[in-house]
Structure formats: structure tokens, C-alpha cells
């Protein structure tokens, strides 16, 4: 029971007063971020990175803060799904289906409570899965050579769009652009200046943190201005909570199934939290058949997708922590934090930085508990936050982005760069170009090139080494599938997801 011992050490890290306080702040901030209009989880974690960085927190504390924000944002996302019928982020989409009808029937408080409990159990299942699976995967990943890593990175990009992604070619373009940005600066192995054009500020390369903040936060501001959605929306009243133990028992089986399905979807490349909550919801609907009143405000219809999406968000940490390959936007942003803390993610992290890995995992467990405790009594506060009009909120978020980036380097040059990334992000989003592959490209580009170089040195310049072992071939195959499958079954799946939502809109 080596794992248990490590976990105990993790708790020792996470339970120090500072870290516990940080986890609490993170969970609270995260819920706010998730609930606030126009601030998704990835976005929220992104603007907090420069702050965590400049506060000079030790690595494990910084990671604990950000993972709690991540977990909190998943909780917060459901609030706007239930009260406004607007998903805070994509995975929260399925929660709208039964959550909003429940709120309209005057059961908003119950819907929020059910979703909090389901999120808790889903998150718990996901974290337990993470504890069991991650060390095994990390040990297995130690057998990877540079060629396998190179193939793995390609796989990560290929599956990033997900099976439900619209145009895989745009993922390829976005990833390539990101990797291209990462090649700017002085080449580590040879010292050649690449694409610096004599500009001193470019010698060290382009900092991915300012790219992330620009692409996410600034482009969000521009999108809101375009949609003129500054005024905010009217809210549904939240009444007094009337939830009996019997109600809670009745959602438990659904929640367990949803959490497990979500975790599996989170771990698998290319599935992610949206598919996790979708599968959890549809299977539950099928399993219960006529017994459920799905789409009209069935409690289990809220519990299933919420458990699914929180299970998936813990599941998504498995590839991020063990392989250094994130499966979603938010985990990509967490990876950015790790890299800027000078920690090389991947299997070695489990031996070299065991305190951080296990501290983060323990923080997830504690964070989930804190979130449940925070969410039931404090739901009123979060609901109020939801009514903050974006016209005040987004300019302030922009200010925090400026403060964060400025305090890292004290250079206005970086601020111009961030604004440029924001404008580019806006244009790319309008063109339906996914932004996450760009970020991931910037993060993984240097590692990819390094592994390519190592593989070539081992093989003495023979390119065949890249697909020389069965494992590498397998990884290439999955990567290929990741690009082809969206063309084959993507339209069917997307059609089904849309139908599920339309059907319910009619019965609404």
C-alpha cells in the first residue's frame, strides 16, 4: 500500500494551515469564476496564474490554489445552467436540460443542492480513480522512449478536438501555429536565433502565460462587446431548500454511475468532460426509461451530468499528471503553471516531485469536501454574483489580466503582446479556430522538438525510429483515429447531442 502512504504524505502537505487556506480561497474563487458570466474555468485559472506566480508561492501551494480553483469552477458552472439556462461552460450544457425546468417549477434551491451533492460524489469518485490509476500509468510511462513521447504528443494534439469536434483540420492548424510560436527564441540545443528578427524581447521566446491570458481573457471582452451582452440577465428566484434524505438516496445510484462514466471519459484521450456528462445523462435516461421524467425537471437528470462532468474533470488530470499531456483546456492551463514553476510534468514527477503530485491530489479531496460545505449554505452569495452585469465585470477582469502580466515582468512590451494575442484570439474564435491547441502547442512544442532530437541521436538519423516499436505504432494509430473519427462518427454524435437538447426544448 505504497499509494496510501504517499497519499498520507500528500495530506500532510495539503493540511498545513497556509495550504488549507489557499484551498479554501481557491474553492471559493473557483466557484465565483465558474458562476460569473463570461469567465469559464480555463479563463479563470489563466488570469490567476500570473498572480499565483508573482505572489511567490512555493510550487505545491501554487498548484493547490489552482487545482482548487479548477474544481470550484466545475461547481460554479452549473449555477448559470440551472438558473439562466445558459451553460457556464460546455460540460455544463447537459445540466440545463433538467436543471432549468426544475428551477422554473420553483425548485431552484433543490436543483442547486442536488447538483452540489452530485458534483461532490462525482468529484470524489474521479479523485479516487485518479489515485488508483495515476501511479500505474506513471510507472508504465517510464518505459516510454523519446520516439514514444513524440508520438504521444502528436496523439495529444490529434485527439484534443475530441470526437465531437467540428473540423479536425482546424485543430491541426491551431496546434501547428502554437508549436510555431514556441520555436521563437534561441534554440536550446544549438544556440541558433530563430525568428527573433533582432528584437531583444524575443530572445527568450514568447511567454505562454501572456499568450494564454490574451487569448482567453482579452478575447472574451471583445466577444462580449460584439454581442452587446453587457447588461446581464434576469434571474429566477431561489426559494427555501426542501430536500429530504429520501430525495438524496434516490439520486445516489444515478450519481455513482455518472461519476464512473465521467471519470472514464475524462481519462480517455479525445472524450473529455462534455462527452462525459453527455454519456452520463443519456445512459441514465435510457436506463430509467419510462420511470424517469427526464427533460421536465427530474432530479436524476441534474445529478447524472453533474456527477459525470466532475468525474471527468478529475479524470482529465490523469494524463496531465502522469504523461504531461493534458486532455482539456483547463488542464492545459494547469500544465502551463507547472512548466513555469520549472517542474517537468510526466512520469518522473511522481518520483521527483512526489510532494507536489500527492499534495495536489489530497487538495482535490479536501477541495471537494470544502466545496460541498461552501455550496449548500452559501448558495445565495453565488447566485447574487451571477447577477453582476458583465459590463462592470469584464473590464475589471481585463484590469486583473493587465496587473498580472505586468507584475511578472514589469514590461509594457508584454502588455502590447497580450493585447495582440487578445485581438488574434477574437478573430480566431470568430473563425471557429479552437484556441486550446494553440496553447498546448506553445507548451508542448519545445518538449516535442527535444524528444525528436533525442530519438534521432539514438537512431543516428534514421527517421524510422519514430515508429520503430509496437507501442509507438499504437500511439500513431490512435492519433490517426483521433483525426479521422470526427469525420466518420462526429456528425452522428453531434446530431444526437443536438437532438437531445432540442427534444427537451420542445417539451419545455
Amino acid at each position: 500500500m505504497e499509494t496510501l502512504q504517499f497519499l498520507m504524505e500528500g495530506f500532510a502537505v495539503a493540511l498545513t494551515p497556509t495550504n488549507l487556506l489557499l484551498a479554501l480561497c481557491g474553492a471559493f474563487l473557483g466557484t465565483l469564476i465558474g458562476a460569473l458570466p463570461g469567465l469559464g474555468p480555463a479563463n479563470g485559472v489563466a488570469i490567476l496564474i500570473p498572480l499565483a506566480f508573482t505572489l511567490g508561492l512555493p510550487p505545491e501551494s501554487a498548484m493547490i490554489l489552482l487545482t482548487s480553483v479548477y474544481a470550484g469552477a466545475m461547481y460554479g458552472g452549473r449555477i448559470s445552467s440551472i438558473l439562466l439556462n445558459i451553460p457556464g461552460d460546455e460540460p455544463a450544457m447537459m445540466t440545463c436540460l433538467d436543471g432549468y425546468p426544475m428551477a422554473k417549477n420553483g425548485k431552484a434551491a433543490e436543483a442547486l443542492a442536488v447538483s452540489a451533492i452530485a458534483s461532490f460524489i462525482g468529484g470524489l469518485i474521479g479523485t479516487i480513480g485518479l489515485i488508483l490509476l495515476a501511479p500505474i500509468l506513471a510507472r508504465f510511462a517510464l518505459t516510454f522512449g523519446p520516439a514514444e513521447y513524440f508520438a504521444l504528443f502528436v496523439l495529444a494534439f490529434a485527439t484534443l478536438g475530441g470526437i465531437t469536434g467540428k473540423n479536425p483540420m482546424k485543430t491541426v492548424v491551431a496546434a501547428t501555429l502554437g508549436i510555431m510560436i514556441s520555436t521563437v527564441g534561441i534554440d536550446i540545443s544549438t544556440g541558433t536565433q530563430r525568428y527573433t528578427f533582432g528584437v531583444l524581447e524575443l530572445y527568450e521566446g514568447i511567454d505562454f502565460i501572456l499568450a494564454i491570458v490574451g487569448l482567453f481573457a482579452i478575447s472574451e471582452l471583445l466577444l462580449f462587446i460584439e454581442e452587446r451582452a453587457g447588461k446581464g440577465r434576469a434571474l429566477i428566484q431561489v426559494g427555501k431548500l426542501k430536500l429530504s434524505m429520501k430525495d438524496i438516496y434516490s439520486i445516489l445510484p444515478t450519481t455513482f454511475r455518472g461519476g464512473i462514466l465521467g471519470f472514464v471519459a475524462g481519462v480517455l484521450p479525445g472524450a473529455g468532460a462534455s462527452l462525459g456528462s453527455f454519456i452520463a445523462y443519456t445512459l441514465e435516461k435510457k436506463a430509467l426509461g419510462k420511470k424517469g421524467r427526464f427533460g421536465e425537471g427530474d432530479m436524476r437528470g441534474v445529478a447524472a451530468p453533474e456527477a459525470g462532468n466532475n468525474g471527468a474533470s478529475s479524470g482529465a488530470l490523469v494524463p496531465m499528471l502522469t504523461l504531461g499531456v493534458p486532455g482539456s483546456g483547463t488542464t492545459a492551463v494547469l500544465l502551463a503553471m507547472l512548466i513555469s514553476l520549472n517542474i517537468t510534468p510526466g512520469p518522473l514527477m511522481f518520483t521527483q516531485n512526489a510532494d507536489i503530485v500527492w499534495g495536489v491530489i489530497a487538495a482535490l479531496l479536501i477541495g471537494n469536501l470544502l466545496l460541498l460545505v461552501l455550496n449548500i449554505p452559501m448558495i445565495g452569495v453565488f447566485v447574487k454574483v451571477l447577477s453582476v452585469p458583465p459590463m462592470y465585470l469584464l473590464p475589471m477582469v481585463t484590469m486583473i489580466a493587465f496587473v498580472g502580466i505586468y507584475s511578472i515582468s514589469h514590461s509594457t512590451f508584454d502588455l502590447y503582446f497580450m493585447v495582440a494575442f487578445g485581438v488574434a484570439g477574437y478573430i480566431l474564435r470568430k473563425l471557429e479556430m479552437p484556441l486550446v491547441p494553440i496553447i498546448l502547442g506553445m507548451l508542448l512544442g519545445p518538449e516535442m522538438e527535444k524528444n525528436l532530437g533525442h530519438a534521432m541521436i539514438i537512431s543516428d538519423g534514421n527517421w524510422g525510429i519514430l515508429w520503430g516499436t509496437p507501442l509507438a505504432v499504437g500511439l500513431w494509430l490512435v492519433a490517426g483515429l483521433g483525426l479521422i473519427l470526427p469525420y466518420l462518427i462526429g456528425p452522428i454524435l453531434r446530431h444526437r447531442m443536438r437532438n437531445a437538447i432540442k427534444e427537451d426544448a420542445v417539451s419545455d
Binding site: 492548424v173 520555436t183 540545443s189 493585447v419
Partner: protein
Amino acid sequence: MTSLGDRILGLALFVLAVTYGWVAQQWPPPFGGHEAVGPETFPTILAVILAGSSLYLMFKPDPDANWPVGRTAGELVAAMVILVLYAFVLERLGFVIATTLAVGSLCWRMGAKPKMAFLIGLISAVSVFLLFNNLLELSLPGGLLEFD
């Protein structure tokens, strides 16, 4: 439905790919002789991939998004100008003045009443300044308001 957007994007990316690839071929070979993977190898691969996928975008584009026109486009450009100006005046005028102006004008352009907008700007600027400079001990530029 036209799909001009993707075609233009594809063309721009194609030009980028060719330039990027061409620049990579111009670097002098690194000191210490040539190896299998030089500084130009990886960029060359990327250029080829980007060129290929941008051609695909040109020939199989997605339908266009609704691009803002008229006043909305003006508002967007105004917001971008505000952001650039914010970066420009941050060190010159100092954090508090620059932020009041930037946050205030952004709130105002997003639909808040002018007085309220600049009040919010001032309050947020002062509170963030105090929080950062006094509590967290990270220095933001004082600018014109710096006395010492």
C-alpha cells in the same frame, strides 16, 4: 452562405507557412558540424504541415461567421484602441489614473452610465493598487501620483 473567412485565413496561413519555412532554411549551420536534427528541421516539418492544412482550409472552408459591421465594428476597434492606450499610459500616468480611465471607458462603452462607469473604474483602481502595493508588496507604477 459564403465562406470567404476561411479562404482568407487559409491564404494568410499558407503565406505564413512558406515564409516561416523559408526563413528556417536561411540559418547558418550550427557550430560544431551538422547533425540529423538541426535548428531548422523541426520548423521545416511544421511549415509543411501548416502549408498542407491551410490548403485544405482554402479548398474546403467552413461557412462564414457573422462579422460585426457598422457601429459594433466601431465599438470593437474602440475597445482595442483603449487596450493599447492602457498599456501605453500605464507607466507614464501611473496605475491608478490609467486604470480609472481604461476600466471606466470600457464599462461605459459596454453600456454603463458614464458617471457610474468611471466611479467603478476609480474604486477598482484604488483598491487593487492598495492591495498590491501594501498587502502583497508587488509594486505597480505610481506615475504622476508618485510623490517621493
